[in-house]
């Protein structure tokens, strides 16, 4: 399985009696979009946080390109190539759009501790940032204050910042949430392009988007992966119907 | 030990209001020490006029609660949505106003406030220890207030609202509770507790301008150790600080005397003792950055 970029092996995490993730093993292969679906409270965000290192797992390992990430902090994981977008936009709101993207490029290059050179005159960083903005379609908003962006534009900027990191894998937590129909279409187009750069682990509620984009889908219920497969397989899987619609529905 | 307990109880009276205000409204109030001072001055003024200690205590409660309600209505409520920096600054400004305002009204000399004759002098405790009766009553009153606070928070309608307010402001507004009134009430309650503490303590210490700030800093140490917003934490923290400080003052010079010459031991020991509670606080925060009972 040399084409596996990111994998989790037997991840557990519980909060008191609540098992948020229960024995989760997943993998993300080169060039694919792997969607993670499941009802609210199924533990999708917890899982993402475990993968990015924001939450420590009770047990289990996360591997990126065969490297065990146990005990590695979120900042190092990002540097090693996990590019993440957030469920709730997480940007430096007072900075301009370009500054946010430069921040990502800076993170990718490392060596933040430079005190005298004006960072916005660093051609290397700025051109990397501008390229990412152009890729998501935000080039003309480079000088806008991030707080003045629309909701959809902030989502795009999130993706652009993740892009500047030149990640090996993207982790995207509901990038379509709150986008209108048009915005969602744009985002779908963007993600289709992006998977060529790095595979995407995608959490999404918008089923149309999921079935349009995903190469594989995993279903998470009560912290457990109950099925993984192609969109077609998932569509017909009786267990999933039961999980979503309730036990009383006959298989 | 008993002294540490009593010091701790006094600190609790002071910190309970502070931690309540922080827990419910998310406000750091540096002017809490001024309310303490107002309580003491009101008590001293009333005691001088009427000679009654009970009336004096009532006056301290009333004056501090009134002052608290007044600043809540005019100033503090504008600060709830601000960041901590603005709160620190605005309440720092209130300290300046209150301190000099009090000096304006009462003059620069300390006022007189004495323990009631009934409680003057020592009592003999089981075990043959002599202990001042007044201090013993402070311990009792402090514990009663602690019990009362727990009961208020956990058993009454107001308490339920306060707890709800800690959890979610919009939520209780949606439930039809008048949040503004609730906040004024909580702030006045915290102020009254501080004023009450000021009056109780004023009787055995000096009633003077600037008496609030040292206690204020101690109270902050207490609530930070206990975990901000937690009444239980304030109680445990207060006792911990009270006992650490008292025992440290007593024991450290003796410990140093074991391996230093006496005058150096006294001097090094006392120097360290005065830093002890801050060391305690730093220690607690290093290992539990949210205090002992703070929510993560």
């Amino acid at each position: 399985m040399t084409d596996v970029v990111l994998s989790t092996e037997r991840l557990f995490k519980s909060f008191g009696a609540l098992k948020a993730t229960n024995d989760v093993s997943l993998n993300l292969r080169k060039g694919e979009i792997h969607a993670l679906i499941g009802p609210n409270g199924a533990g999708k965000s917890t899982l993402i946080q475990q993968i990015t290192g924001h939450l420590a797992s009770d047990s289990g390992t996360v591997r990126l390109m065969d490297e065990d990430l146990t005990g590695v902090g979120p900042a190092e994981r990002a540097r090693k190539g996990l590019g993440r977008t957030f469920q709730i936009s997480s940007l430096a709101m007072e900075h301009t759009v370009l500054q946010n993207a430069v921040l990502g490029a800076l993170g990718q290059r490392g060596n933040v501790m430079s005190f005298l050179k004006p960072v916005m005159k660093d051609d290397q960083l700025v051109s990397a940032a501008k390229a990412a903005l152009a890729q998501v379609g935000l080039a003309e908003f480079a000088a806008t204050r991030t707080a003045d962006l629309s909701h959809g534009q902030r989502r795009q900027l999130e993706v652009a910042v993740a892009l500047t990191l030149k990640p090996r894998a993207f982790l995207m937590d509901e990038p379509m949430a709150g986008l209108g129909l048009e915005g969602a279409q744009q985002m779908i187009g963007l993600l289709t392009e992006l998977r060529k750069e790095a595979p995407i682990l995608l959490i999404e509620h918008d089923m149309d988007a999921v079935f349009a984009l995903a190469d594989r889908i995993s279903v998470l219920v009560y912290g457990e992966v109950i099925a993984t497969g192609t969109p077609e397989e998932i569509k017909v899987n009786p267990e999933i119907r039961r999980a979503y619609l309730g036990d009383e529905v006959p298989a | 030990m008993l002294n540490g307990l009593q010091f701790g109880v006094m600190l609790f009276l002071m910190s309970a209001g502070l931690t309540l205000v922080f827990g419910v409204m998310g406000l750091i109030n540096l002017a809490h020490g001024s309310l303490y001072m107002i309580g003491a001055f009101a008590a001293a003024a009333v005691a001088a006029a009427t000679g009654s200690f009970v009336l004096a205590l009532m006056a301290s409660l009333a004056a501090a609660a009134l002052a608290g309600a007044l600043i809540e209505l005019t100033i503090i409520r504008r600060l709830y949505d601000r960041d901590h920096l603005d709160q620190v600054l605005a309440t720092f400004a209130l300290i300046l106003i209150f301190s000099e305002g009090t000096r304006w009204m009462f003059g620069s000399f300390p006022l007189f406030l004495d323990v009631p004759p009934m409680l003057a002098g020592p009592v003999t405790l089981p075990g043959g220890i002599e202990y001042p009766a007044y201090r013993l009553s402070i311990i009792v009153i402090g514990l009663l207030v602690a019990v009362g606070m727990f009961a208020l928070i956990n058993r009454t309608r107001v308490g339920i609202r306060i707890r709800a307010g800690e959890a979610d402001r919009e939520m209780i507004a949606a439930l039809g509770v008048d949040i503004a009134k609730l906040y004024t009430f909580v702030f006045a309650l915290g102020a009254a507790l501080a004023g009450f503490a000021g009056a109780l303590v004023g009787a055995i210490q000096s009633v003077q301008v600037g008496m609030g700030e040292p206690v204020l800093i101690l109270a902050f140490v207490v609530i930070v150790i206990g975990g901000i917003g937690s009444i239980k934490g304030a109680f445990v923290g207060a006792l911990l600080v009270g006992i650490t400080d008292t025992m440290g003052r007593f024991l450290l010079p003796q410990i140093f005397a074991l391996f230093l010459e006496p005058s150096a031991a006294v001097s090094v020991g006392s120097a360290l003792a005065s830093m002890l509670i801050y060391i305690l606080m730093a220690g607690v925060l290093v290992f539990r950055p949210r205090g002992l009972y703070g929510v993560a």
Binding site: E94 | A93, I97
Partner: protein, 327 residues
């Protein structure tokens, strides 16, 4: 140039112009006042990096101010008494040379900031405010009760320290020295603000997870900011001690920390020149209100309250408006 730039230039012009006028009018005390404003501004500029850019509300910066002051006091008092500070394991002599004193002041306060910051930055929000306050108080009580260097009485230096080529006892020359240092520091801070470090630090203030998820550690960024900030405030402390030829634990008190914050708030948080304008206004108020009434603190308090409640962004904010809104 933006309006804020004009205001900044005007502030510097006033700060330089007033003592020049005073020199002409033979009012040396005004020069002393201006020097005081410059030094306070420097302390504020130091804190502003942590507080304005980094969002770290430190209520213990007087510790660094005082440590800088004591670095000067201790070095100079030994030099004045011709006694070495320590002989074993190696000889350290006192000195009266300002550049050496400044270096020592900055290094010691940076080290103190490193230790205090390393522990304090594990917490955040109110806890951070309180733990920095606690460390400040710790050092304050230590200074009061440590007998070797005067305890509460403080340390007096009979003559101002020396700077090659200048007579520092002439008020205007000492002012010039402090003013030059302030300008250099402002340039430095401006560079830091625009550097990659500055970008990352202010991003960490706005959104910690964002910084983490692009692979940077907010803790490291903040610690470095705290150390630089402490060092600059320490330098201001050394100059302040030299201005007064005196250092005492008052420089370490929490009211001092509060005052440094006040400079920043009056001028405008996070603005490069915020502390400069704030310190100028504070000195002006102290000087004029203090003469009006014994109870001038009441007016100061009321004014401060007004600024916090109604003029968010301080004086620069009120005059220049929000930076980006008018671009």
């Amino acid at each position: 140039m933006t309006r804020e730039t004009w205001i900044n230039v005007a502030a510097l012009a006033v700060l330089l112009g007033v003592p020049l006028w005073a020199l002409m009018a033979d009012e040396p005390f005004i020069i002393t006042l201006a020097t005081r404003a410059v030094i306070f501004a420097l302390a504020g500029v130091g804190l502003n990096l942590a507080l304005g850019t980094g969002g770290l509300v430190s209520l213990g910066h007087a510790a660094f101010f005082g440590i800088g002051g004591y670095a000067m006091g201790i070095l100079a008092s030994h030099a004045q008494a011709y006694t070495p500070i320590m002989e074993a394991p190696f000889l350290i002599e006192g000195t009266k040379s300002m550049p050496v004193i400044w270096l020592v002041a900055m290094v010691t306060s940076a080290l103190a900031a490193l230790a205090i910051g390393a522990l304090s930055l594990r917490t955040s929000g109110v806890y951070f405010i309180m733990i920095t306050l606690a460390f400040g108080q710790m050092i304050y009580y230590f200074a009061i009760s440590w007998p070797a260097y005067g305890g509460e009485d403080g340390l007096s230096i009979y003559k101002r320290n020396e700077f090659p080529g200048l007579n520092t006892l002439v008020p205007m020359q000492f002012f010039g020295l402090c003013f030059a240092i302030l300008c250099l520091t402002l340039l430095l801070m401006n560079a830091i603000h625009k550097s990659s470090f500055g970008l990352a630090l202010s991003a960490a203030r706005q959104n910690e997870t964002r910084v983490l998820s692009v692979g940077m550690k907010p803790y490291h960024l903040r610690l470095v900011a705290f150390v630089i900030s402490g060092a600059v405030t320490g330098l201001a402390g050394a100059l302040f001690a030299d201005l007064n030829r005196f250092v005492s634990p008052t420089m370490l008190s929490w009211q001092m920390s509060g005052e440094i914050i006040i400079f920043i708030i009056i001028g405008g948080v996070g603005r490069l020149f915020g502390p400069v304008i704030g310190a100028m206004i504070f000195i002006l108020l102290e000087h004029t209100l203090g003469g009006l009434s014994e109870f001038w603190h009441v007016y100061l308090g009321a004014l401060l309250l007004g600024i916090v409640l109604f003029a968010k962004g301080g004086v620069i904010g009120a005059l220049a408006g929000r930076e980006k809104a008018h671009d």
